[in-house]
């Protein structure tokens, strides 16, 4: 048991060090004033508000952070980062926690957000530019919410806010090389 605990702690320290190295931010500089949380746009849907994420990292409790709804849902508005009196880019810290969670295959409960990012990039991968109509349809079908935003469709059509034919770039060979360069882009 003792060995288990210490290995978790050691792993925690390693992950925190990794986050600090990649993000270039010093987690230890946070003194818990809570300004990040007071300005956070999304904290009402997060399980841990930003200042608690910082504290968890300081304590090496990375499992909580990597599995948190915060890491899945933070959409990087960076308001917290502009308010930090210690100039810590808090959003960047959360961002890197999210990437490490991704790399470790941690999926979490917020499937739709993941799905959105995936759908967006698959869409771009295909034509080089985003086809919004296709994105909306794909998301709705894959997330089993076919009626999501359906009330906006007549408005979108009336205001001509959509193109039916997907836009595409000419040099798709270059585009494919870009996606191949990042491991085939199949990581989801």
């Amino acid at each position: 048991m003792a060995i288990l605990v210490s290995s978790t702690v050691a792993d925690g320290a390693a992950v925190v060090a990794e986050i600090e190295r990649r993000s270039g931010e010093r987690v230890s500089a946070c003194y818990q004033c809570g300004r990040c949380t007071s300005t956070c746009t999304g904290s009402f849907v997060f399980d841990y508000p930003p200042h608690r994420i910082m504290r968890l990292l300081q304590l090496g409790q990375v499992d909580e952070v990597l599995n948190s709804r915060t890491a899945q849902l933070c959409f990087d508005c960076m308001t917290c980062s502009t308010r930090c009196p210690m100039n810590i880019d808090v959003a960047n810290v959360i961002e890197h926690a999210k990437m490490i969670a991704d790399e470790r295959g941690i999926e979490g409960d917020e499937k739709d957000v993941r799905l959105f990012r995936l759908a967006f990039l698959q869409n771009v991968r295909r034509h080089g530019r985003l086809h919004e109509a296709r994105l909306l349809t794909w998301i709705n079908l894959r997330s089993f919410k076919p009626f999501n935003d359906l009330e906006l469709v007549p408005l979108i059509l009336r205001k001509k806010k959509i193109h039916i034919v997907p836009p595409r770039i000419r040099n798709r060979r270059q585009l494919h090389r870009i996606f191949r360069e990042v491991n085939g882009g199949d990581k989801s």
Binding site: T41, R117, L121, V124, I139, I162, I169, K187
Partner: protein
């Protein structure tokens, strides 16, 4: 890094004959402006033309990757996608303009990362199959107009057309953050739209929610975030008596305008706040027709606002309003006016 003054570039680069405008820029429209934000593209092109700025669309540009690319793939997709655009644009002009705040943000971030990493530059060179060029100056349209148009010159042409309006300037997140990379205005209290807006004759009081987040790209995946965040922005603007919110971001616009009906439905509110693009407002001030500027392409009608500045019902009235050429000073009038000095622009107070 690329601290090019406007005068220098004119001296070095300009083949005088090939310059219909004073200055030419590579134009990166981005996906939104060719789709759901078509009116942003149209109004930007029209307004630029009226102000004598030449825009050359970057040939065969691709999506910048927006928020999902850097967030999702831990590879360098968030750098490589914009790098291709930077590479193409760098061969065309010395500066490029990206009106979409998301594209602007991604392009600048990618440039920053390319500058700092040999490894990334090599990776980019591998996919482009030639050494990557990335040192083009990247501007948003707010910066472009602040540089190319002096408030005095605009005031002279606008002749107080927008008098009577009080416009809330809304910058959102992506124009200003992260501050050390974006280097856009003052990130805690951005003010760079204000001098030109005031030159239109409109009033533009301090809007305390100018850099709050609208909920970003969560509209499809986690709508309650967008509805709540955007509601706050609109409600504060309405409570302070603003006639419209002015934005320079198609995603903000989508959240604030297209989803305003959803907000009303979700919270039982009755918000009715027009949201206009910065280029549309400047276009109106220059006397361009509201139909051409796509004012009618929004979910929330700006009819009340147009009536307030004597444009009445959009259609026919707009045409007659923009017809009399006598009231519109010639392009030469603005062309000879001194351009806004970027240094002095930073010091404009907000009060």
């Amino acid at each position: 890094m690329n601290n090019r003054s406007r005068k220098d570039s004119a001296a070095i680069k300009a083949p005088a004959s090939a310059k219909p405008g004073r200055n030419a820029y590579s134009y990166f429209p981005g996906c939104s402006l060719t789709g759901s934000a078509g009116e942003y593209d149209a109004s930007f092109r029209l307004t630029s033309e009226a102000l004598g700025i030449r825009l050359d669309e970057i040939s065969d540009w691709n999506c910048c990757g927006a928020s999902p690319a850097p967030h999702h793939w831990s590879g360098n997709l968030g750098v490589l996608l914009p790098a291709r655009n930077l590479h193409i644009a760098s061969g065309e002009h010395e500066a490029m303009v990206a009106p979409c705040a998301g594209c602007y943000n991604r392009l600048k971030n990618a440039q920053h990362e390319l500058t700092g990493s040999e490894e990334l530059r090599e990776q980019a060179a591998r996919v482009l199959q030639e050494p990557v060029r990335y040192e083009i100056e990247i501007l948003n349209l707010v910066e472009l107009f602040a540089r190319e148009v002096s408030p005095e010159a605009l005031a002279e042409r606008a002749q107080g057309r927008l008098a009577g309006l009080n416009l809330a300037t809304y910058y959102g997140c992506l124009l200003t953050r992260p501050a050390k990379i974006m280097n856009f205005d003052n990130h805690r209290n951005p003010v760079s739209m204000k001098p030109l807006l005031r030159a239109t004759g409109a009033q533009s009081d301090h809007f305390p929610f100018k850099s709050e987040c609208c909920g970003s790209y969560m509209g499809l995946a986690k709508k309650e975030i967008v509805l709540r965040a955007s509601r706050r922005v609109i409600e504060v603007a309405a409570g302070l008596g603003f006639d419209a919110i002015v934005t320079a971001c198609p995603l903000c616009h989508q959240n604030l305008d297209l989803r305003q009906g959803q907000i009303n439905k979700a919270f039982g509110t009755s918000l009715d706040m027009p949201v206009l693009y910065y280029s549309q407002v400047l276009g109106l001030a220059l006397g361009l027709g509201s139909d051409d500027l796509g004012i009618d392409a929004h979910a929330i009608s700006a009819r009340k606002l147009l009536a307030k500045i004597g444009k009445g019902d959009d259609g026919p009235a707009a045409a007659t309003r923009s017809a009399p050429a006598a009231t519109r000073p010639t392009p030469e009038a603005t062309r000879s006016a001194p351009a806004a000095n970027p240094a002095s622009r930073r010091q404009v107070g907000c009060g």
